[in-house]
Structures are given as C-alpha cells and as structure tokens.
Chain length 69, copies 12
Amino acid sequence: MSDHVYKHIELTGTSSESVEAAVNGAVARAGQTVRNMRWFEVSELRGHIEGGQVTQWQVTVKIGFTLED
Amino acid sequence: MSDHVYKHIELTGTSSESVEAAVNGAVARAGQTVRNMRWFEVSELRGHIEGGQVTQWQVTVKIGFTLED
Amino acid sequence: MSDHVYKHIELTGTSSESVEAAVNGAVARAGQTVRNMRWFEVSELRGHIEGGQVTQWQVTVKIGFTLED
Amino acid sequence: MSDHVYKHIELTGTSSESVEAAVNGAVARAGQTVRNMRWFEVSELRGHIEGGQVTQWQVTVKIGFTLED
Amino acid sequence: MSDHVYKHIELTGTSSESVEAAVNGAVARAGQTVRNMRWFEVSELRGHIEGGQVTQWQVTVKIGFTLED
Amino acid sequence: MSDHVYKHIELTGTSSESVEAAVNGAVARAGQTVRNMRWFEVSELRGHIEGGQVTQWQVTVKIGFTLED
Amino acid sequence: MSDHVYKHIELTGTSSESVEAAVNGAVARAGQTVRNMRWFEVSELRGHIEGGQVTQWQVTVKIGFTLED
Amino acid sequence: MSDHVYKHIELTGTSSESVEAAVNGAVARAGQTVRNMRWFEVSELRGHIEGGQVTQWQVTVKIGFTLED
Amino acid sequence: MSDHVYKHIELTGTSSESVEAAVNGAVARAGQTVRNMRWFEVSELRGHIEGGQVTQWQVTVKIGFTLED
Amino acid sequence: MSDHVYKHIELTGTSSESVEAAVNGAVARAGQTVRNMRWFEVSELRGHIEGGQVTQWQVTVKIGFTLED
Amino acid sequence: MSDHVYKHIELTGTSSESVEAAVNGAVARAGQTVRNMRWFEVSELRGHIEGGQVTQWQVTVKIGFTLED
Amino acid sequence: MSDHVYKHIELTGTSSESVEAAVNGAVARAGQTVRNMRWFEVSELRGHIEGGQVTQWQVTVKIGFTLED
C-alpha cells in the first residue's frame, strides 16, 4: 500500500427519486473535473417539501480522491 | 426574501419498505395539521428487527414550516 | 415489560444496490450467530467509488439483541 | 408492527430530590395534554446550586408519542 | 425554586440585518402564542447569499418556557 | 502500570426503579461471561412510558475489561 | 438582570451510592474555595467496577459561578 | 425544483468589528472566484485577543454554491 | 515559534446589547486576573427572555493564554 | 468488490512509549482471536500521569474485520 | 492584525511510520499547489491493517491558508 | 476506592518534534503548580505551518488531578 495523499471535497447531490440517486448525481458531477475518486461519506441528509410532499432529496457527501504525485 | 419565522417539529416515520417511504409517511402525517412545510432534515435512522430480518425502517426527521404572520 | 439486558454489536453491511440492502445484509449475517435481535441504528453511511461511479454502499449499524438469562 | 408516525416533544422536568423524580415530573406534566406516550430520551442533565448545595435537578427529555391516524 | 416543568420549541428567525435581529424576530413571533418564555439557545447559524452578498441571517433557536400547572 | 489491552462491550441495562439499578443489572449480566471488568461509561439514557408513567429506565453503558495475555 | 460574568470549572465527583451523591460531593468540595456557585451541567457519567460490581459512580460536572466585580 | 449539484467550500473571514462583518468579508472574497453562491453555515466562531481586548473576530463558514451543468 | 504552553479558561459573558458585547465583557473581566490572553472560542450562545423579549445575551467562551515559564 | 460484512470491535491499547505503540499493541492482541482485520479508527486518546509525568498512553481504537461467509 | 480571509482544504496523508509523518506528507503535497499555509487541524485518525499489523497510518487534516487579496 | 473529587484543567502543549512531546510539555508545565495529577485526555490536535512545513504540534489536553481534602 503506497503512501498516497487524498483530497476531500464536499458536495450536495439532489434527486426527486431517492437518497441513492442524489448521491449518484453528486459523484457523477464531481467526476467531470476530478479523477481517481475513491470513496464518499454522507454527512447530511435533508430535503425539500412542496405541496405537503417531499419533492427533493438533498444528500451532502464528502468525496475522497487520490492526488497524483 | 422576506423575513419569515419558521418552526421546526420532529417526527419519526416508519415503513416496512424503505427509508424514503418512512420519511414520506412522516411528512404526509404532519401535513394533516401543519401548512407551509418547507424542508426536512434526517436526524436519526433506526429500525426494528423481528425473526432475524428488518421489518420496519424508523426515520426521525425535523420538519421546518413557515409561521404565518 | 420485564427487565432484560441487551447487547449491542456493530457491523458494516455492503451492497451494490442500496442503503436498505446493505443493512439487510448486515442483519442477515449477524443472525447466523446471534439470536433475539431487536433493533438497529445506522451510525455511518459511506461508499466506494470506482470508475467515477458508486459501486458499493457501506452502511454501519449497531444491532441490539436480548441477552438470555 | 403497523406503520405509525411518532411525534417528539422536548421538556425539562425539575426536582429537588433526584434525576428520576425530575423525569417523572416532566412525563406526568406532558401526560396532561398528550396521549399515547411511548418513550423518552434524556438529552441534558443540569441543575441549580444555591447556598453551596444542589437545590434542583433539571433533566431535559425528548418524549415520543404515537400520532393517531 | 419551585419544581416547574419547561417546554422547548425550536424556531428559525430571519433578518437582513444581524444575528441579534433574527433571534429577536423568532422570540417576538413565538410570543404571539406562547407565554412565560424564559430562555433561548442558538443551535444553528446560517444564511442566504444572493448576488454575491449575504442577504439574510437565519438563526435557529430553542426557546424554553414554563408550563403552567 | 503494565501495558494491558482492554476490550469494550456495549450493553443496555433496564430497571423499573432507577438509573443506578439499570447499570447494575447490565454489569451483573456482563459478569456472567466476562472477567476483569474495570470501568463503565454511560452513553445513552432512555426509558419506556406506559399509561402515562415511566415504567422502565434503559441505560446504555460501555464496559471496559482487561484482556488476559 | 445585571450583566455579570460567570466562570466555569470542571470537576469529577465520586460516590459508592448514586449519581446524585457524586454530584453533591463535587459541589460541596468546590464550595470550599469558590463562592456564588449558580448551576452545574453533567458532561460525563462513568464508574468503576470491581469484583463484578459497580463500586463507584464518577460524575463529571461543569459548575458555573458568578465572578464578583 | 431542478436537480442541481452544489459544492461547499470552507473559509474563515475576519473583522475587527463584528461577527456579521467577518462573514461578509469571507463571502465577498469567495465571490471573486466562485459564482452562484447560495447559502452559508457558520461552523466555528473564534477570535484574537491582544492587550486584553478582542481585536479580531474570526468566523468560519461553509459556503454552498450551484455547480453549472 | 517557541514552544509555549497555553491554558484555557471558560467564562460566560452577558450583555443586554449584542453577542460581541457579551464576549468583550468576558474578556475584560478575565483580564483583571489573567495576563497574556491570546484567543477565544465561542462554545455556547444562549440568552434570557423576559416579558416576551430578549433581555440578555449569554455567550460562553474559552479563552487561551500563554503560561509564563 | 464483493459484498462482505464487516464487524467492529473496540479496544484500548496502552504503551509507555508512544501513541503508535499503543495502537500496535491493541491490534496485535486482537489478532490472537480475530482474523482478517482490515482497518482501525482512533476514537479516544488518553493517558495516565504519575509523579508529574506521562507514564502510559491509552489509545482506544475501533478495529474492523471481514466476517467470513 | 489585518483582516485576511483564510480558506480550508481537507486532505488525508498516509505513512507506514507514524502519525506525524502522515501529516507531514499531506502538508508537503498541499504545498505543491497552495501557498501561504498557516495551520492544520487533525479531524480523523485511522489506519490500514494487513497480516495482523498496522501497515499504514491515515491522518485526515484540515489545512488553513491565507487567500491573497 | 475512597471517594475523592478530581478537578480538570485544560492546556495546550506545543512541540516542534511530536504529538507526545507536546503532551509531555503541557503535563510538565502543569506540574509546576498542580499536585496529584492522575490522567489526561487529548481534546484537540492542531499545528502551525510555516514555509510549507509543520513547524509546531499543538495538542490540547484535559488534565485531571485529585483535590486534597
């Protein structure tokens, strides 16, 4: 196991469908500018209510990725 | 953005199906007595086990709603 | 309500599908060696990313079960 | 286990005698206006000091009760 | 010091001016329906940004008040 | 002070009487299978309500014990 | 309500009897050197186990007192 | 409500005047390089003392902004 | 940067005016007996309500100061 | 990445030398009865003082290991 | 003390040797792209176990640096 | 085990060498004015960066000592 350094970024993904879809959205968006993502950790789980119903899941994740040497 | 005041209530929704269904149940029940709900935040995620299987998801949410003037 | 004593164990279940499946996996595995499981509480929600996508949900749960007299 | 929704309220009970008496006082008072209380959780344990002695135990509890359909 | 029971409610006050004004707004609004308020505790301090500037302070407070016998 | 290793287990003791009795119950039950217990730490203090009264104190403790070499 | 300044000190009281006795012991000892104590808050609840039994309750409290002008 | 992804950055603003000015400074500086800022959340409130007086307020904020598609 | 040791003390300052004034009051009072104060950190933000209005801000701060050799 | 289940155990390792040695001691002791250990996480860092000097580092770690199918 | 704005980034450094070496590695790597680093704060201390031994220390740090005007 | 009362003080030790040396420094300095120190607990682990390198470890510890009767 070589001694890499990892960086963390924090994003909030959103979805009208599910917690999982919100996380997938955040990871997909991060992948447009970051390579070598390795793990995520959910730090907050919130949502939007409209007309008496949950209309959006908002999931905040920390994403860790390997910094290239 | 006008200067509203929001109130928070805390409920636990339950579902045999999923985390999302448990939250939806809590929000739907709250909507019977509260208007103008705006957001929720999950504060606890627990469940019941029976016969060696998860039989109920129990999700505690704080719900915020606008207080009318 | 008789005065039982409960023990807690902590496990991480994993699934490529969903948060719920990861918890179900942890509970099913625990049931191979522990009887009388009663509840669980999620203490951490993480996951693995590969090729720019979430490939595994990793959900850490505390499971409580009744100790027999 | 049917899929109820539970509501939480937070109170501080006080007693010159003990932690338990302070909780009992909070639960008894809540019972004047709330039915179907099911559990409590202590979130803060404080007290008042006068004349160099503890004169009051102040115990903050969250009480959960079943919302009727 | 007689053994009262106190109830807590949680509100978010908002103001375009300051933290203090947001708290004052929450307390004033609560006072329309609650008597005998005694203390508050700030649990969250957030705000809204628009056009690159803070346009609203959002302060969440728990307010404690004496329940009458 | 020799360099021992200690293990922690987590249990919930219950009692209809008091916080102390609930802890004593957990420690006594743990002592049936664990030797050399050294300390405990309360991590959660909850209870059951029935008929508008506290009928059970539920105290979760971490217990530390010396692992024999 | 005049604008006093309060100082906090943290002590651990111990007792073979109860949580309350341990707090009382800490407050009594603090009173030997500090005047105008006003409140306490429990920050940790631990204990010692010997011979398979709880032999000492160890309760850590923060004590607040008025600083004289 | 379309399904955006938001990114969070953390900054510490400083001011010799007030908490609000320190936050305003952090948001203004962030706006030099980030567009579409939406909200902030205070995570730490510290300060510098010199000559026995507070000479600087240091407020750490998380700022959330919309990532463009 | 020489290797000093710093001590922390915790105080609650109060003010009828503002959060900043309450902190200033605590720091000024501490300066009557402590030299070489270097920083503070707010750990709690509470207040007193009377007649339906905030009459006192109560801000708890940890103050760090250099111990002289 | 196959869908394993992991179990966590918590131990306190001790050493008169260093934090690292205390962790190494806990992991070595755990390895006498547990196979397939994968990671650890430090949850508490304490120590013993005697004669005015640190005589023992006490590091509490959670250790995760793969449960075999 | 002029009113700078500081930014925080979070990284995980790794080392087979020690906690300090892991932090040094993270700081050194950050210094390749960031100037004016001022402080760090450890937020998580974990590690990897292989063959029953700690093979890697993983230390997560928040690093603060001055933003140039 | 007689029923002593313990007091806690909080200090930050610093060292250019290691975490352990910073703690040792804090304990040694405390021992100039306090007798009967018994244990410490690390509550914060920070450091100073200069010229792109860690130049100082800053470790905050709570130290507990027995109060004489």
